[in-house]
Amino acid sequence: MELNGVMTKQELIDHIKAHFPGPLEMIETKQPEPYFIVRPEDLVAFARFIHDDPQLQMNFLMSLAGVDTGQRCEVVYNVCSYPLKHRLLFKILLPRDNAEFDSVLSVWPAANWYEREVWELYGMNVRNHPNLTRFLLTDDWDEGNPMRKGWTGTDFITLPDRG
């Protein structure tokens, strides 16, 4: 399956691998968009590259989500290009303790609230974010980051195992 874009999936992969200087890992999926793993220190450079490159023009951040797998934390970015009609997925892998990543706010301003959400619900710190303040949980919330694995709260009830 291919997206109805200017470049096919393989062309996208080849172009990005040929022109981005840093190391990139791929995740093989059957999805129509390529899926990269980017080193956390390359994050802003990679975002700037796919945003500015004239053959990519990834000008729209569709989604930015945190993940806690139990062993490590991840941040997944879904981006697409309005003019060229193609999409791209990439993610960064972070240690579970003291996870910290750079803000991509300078590339996509839409990342503002997404990064606040990741900061609030997962407890990952976002560097260079201008407004890391609480906005999803209650104002007097003091029970930590509820989307972390193994989190429990005062009236949190785990689904009983029904066998």
Binding site: L137, T138, E143, G153, F156, I157, L159, P160
Partner: protein
């Protein structure tokens, strides 16, 4: 004379005169029960069913129920949908703004007890009766419009049991 024939319980007419004898209590409670203005509080999918009940097929208006967007003008609060912990203080605040006597109808599983969000949820309030008193519970996910109509009639029944000195 038609209304007197229909309402022998509440009214009694004086023979020979155009007068009706009744108690203030009957008139007040009956008129409130027959013109329940409700506060729209649709926060999730139950609100769709509430809209369906208000629209022409089921027609809330035939019970004298008109939606109000302001708590100051409402007698009944129909909480239709999931109430999160962040929403809970706002529910309490809107309830406090309603004029007495005031009634609350909890519509659907979420408003009654958290519903499908009872387990494994950090954000959903486990029933609005933790925040405000509830008069009638209408279970369902979401309830059919018939169930909601029945619930509103139950609120009407409860209103008619009210005594005048309980009005405050």
């Amino acid at each position: 004379m038609g209304i007197i024939k229909k309402l022998p319980v509440y009214a009694e007419h004086v023979p020979g005169g155009g007068l009706v004898v009744t108690s203030i209590n009957s008139v007040l409670t009956m008129s409130q029960a027959k013109s329940l203005w409700y506060l729209l509080f649709g926060t999730a999918c139950c609100a769709i069913e509430l809209m369906a009940t208000g629209a022409s097929r089921y027609d809330f208006d035939r019970l004298g129920m008109i939606f109000r967007a302001s708590p100051r003008q409402a007698d009944l609060m129909i909480v239709a949908g999931t109430i999160t912990k962040k929403m809970a203080p706002r529910v309490k605040r809107l309830y406090d703004q309603m004029a007495q006597p005031r009634y609350v109808l909890a519509m659907g599983g979420c408003a009654i007890g958290g519903g499908p969000f009872y387990y494994d949820s950090y954000s959903v309030l486990k029933g609005i009766d933790l925040v405000i008193p509830v008069d009638v519970y209408v279970p369902g996910c979401p309830p059919r419009p018939e169930a909601l109509l029945q619930g509103c009639l139950e609120v009407g029944k409860k209103i008619r049991t009210l005594k005048l000195d309980e009005w405050s």
